[in-house]
């Protein structure tokens, strides 16, 4: 009996620690999204009149809380592997500006709305899915899922899924379509995207 206790005791303790750890990760994922959304909504509201300042601030938040390089690599799909190191670096440098611009302009529509976190799905190696909804004053709520990747004890956003449409997936479809027309060359993609950012 004593022997059994010596084995079982630590095992039970270990099991309890593991459930506690899992709960902590889901809770921190939830808190991460809620905190991030609150900050973004704050920024959108505060700089109501000054678009440039608002976008600069948003880009700063975005750069720190999203895995921009992972999103950029994913967007090029199967064309990534064939590109040279210099091409990849030049593309990613441009992409950091491009993607924060994109997210900023698309998220602008939700200024002044409230985000409610609903639940967290632990997708293991695929990351965490935080399901939330934006409650709108007029019209039905908007379902927004945040896909997170664990990163050094914290999280990085790797995708936003708005009403079942993933931004990463949609962007990959756009980029690979352009790449297919341009012989799969990353510099050609950058050239085609540049005027978009300038014109926004």
């Amino acid at each position: 009996m004593r022997a059994l206790m010596t084995i079982a005791g630590p095992l039970v303790a270990l099991a309890m620690m593991m459930t506690a750890a899992a709960a902590a990760t889901e809770d921190t994922a939830r808190a991460f999204v809620q905190g991030l959304a609150d900050r973004v909504i704050q920024v959108l509201e505060r700089n109501g009149e000054d678009t440039a300042a608002r976008q600069a601030e948003f880009r700063d938040i975005f750069a720190r809380n999203a895995d921009v390089e992972a999103i950029g690599k994913f967007a090029t799909g199967r064309y990534w592997r064939a590109a040279s190191e210099e091409e990849k670096r030049a593309y990613l440098d441009f992409f950091a500006d491009y993607v924060s611009f994109m997210y900023a302009t698309r998220i602008d529509a939700y200024a002044g709305e409230k985000l409610e976190v609903e639940r967290v799905i632990d997708a293991g190696a695929k990351g965490m899915i935080v399901k939330s909804r934006i409650v709108r004053a007029d019209g039905p709520p908007v379902q927004v899922d945040w896909r997170l990747r664990a990163d050094d004890g914290g999280f990085k956003v790797i995708d936003l899924i708005v009403e079942q449409v993933s931004m990463a997936q949609t962007q990959q479809s756009e980029f690979t379509s352009i790449l297919a027309r341009n012989g799969g060359k990353l510099p050609a993609l950058v050239e085609e995207l540049k005027p978009r950012v300038a014109g926004l």
Partner: protein
């Protein structure tokens, strides 16, 4: 064609489908390849549809949005949703989803009676939420492939599986057996289009303005929405794409991640910078 003969016809199709139905779950569209065998034709039709949107649908949706009082829009939305229930009910049964069939049946009953023929929606509050099922989804559940992207004039994205689904659902629509049913059905479709455009006015305009390839974006978005419909809104973690961190092959700029970690300790919300 009599109702009975239509029913028989559908039954035959389903019997044929039953043969190839798989137990591996529904067939989803792949998102990492265009699967667009008729792309030049599709792009031309898409451009035409976009013209129709600019000239007719968008202005009409703006007018609809301005003119129609919120309460009226609410009632119109409810009615349109209500009219979709018989087709949804048939399809949940065909998919063998008895639990959902029961929910749809009671929703139909409650909103027809308490809800005044579907003008109000007390069912949602009673735990009977709306979930629309169409024959395209039923085919996917039976294991049928999407069959390549296809765009129809005015109707928009309509790959073969959804085109067949649309035709079958139309044949089954109980409204069309009633006097004046065609007019009601047409009215409903019009409301649906205007509601959708008005509701998503900013999102669609923004996407059009910012997308580097609007056609490819809509193609992807359509498939993603259909996959979600087929999965009844559940997240299928298996089918999530790998969005993996950049490996060491490209040296990352050292500044960002470091500052974020230092600052996160002083924040109230963990990890947010």
């Amino acid at each position: 064609m009599s109702f009975f003969r239509r029913f028989l016809w559908i039954g035959l199709i389903l019997a044929a489908l039953g043969g190839c139905a798989s137990t591996a779950g529904p067939t989803l569209s792949k998102l990492d390849e265009p699967n667009d065998p008729w792309e030049p034709y599709n792009r031309a039709v898409f451009a035409f549809n976009q013209g129709v949107d600019t000239v007719v649908i968008r202005p009409a949706a703006i007018a609809y949005d301005t003119v129609t009082p919120t309460t009226v829009r609410h009632v119109l939305r409810n009615l349109s949703n209500h009219l979709s229930l018989p087709v949804s009910l048939v399809n949940t049964v065909l998919q063998g989803d008895w639990e959902q069939a029961e929910i749809t049946f009671w929703r139909l009953f409650v909103n027809t009676t308490l809800g005044g023929f579907g003008m109000l929606d007390p069912a949602t509050e009673l735990g009977l939420p709306l979930r629309q099922e169409d024959f395209g989804q039923t085919l996917a559940v039976a294991g049928i492939e999407e069959g390549g992207y296809f765009v129809l004039p005015l109707l928009g994205p309509m790959p073969p599986r959804d085109l067949v689904g649309r035709i079958v659902d139309h044949a089954f629509n109980p409204l069309l057996f009633l006097d004046g049913g065609t007019a009601v059905s047409t009215g409903r479709r019009t409301v649906d289009i205007l509601e959708f455009r008005a509701e998503n006015m900013e999102a669609i305009d923004e996407l059009y303005r910012t997308s580097p390839d609007f056609y490819a974006a809509i193609r992807s978005a359509y498939r993603q929405r259909r996959n979600a419909d087929i999965l009844n809104g559940e997240t299928d973690t298996e089918s999530l794409p790998d969005i993996s961190a950049l490996s060491v092959e490209v040296p990352a700029p050292a500044n960002l991640s470091l500052t974020s970690r230092v600052e996160s300790r002083s924040e109230t919300s963990p990890g947010v910078n």
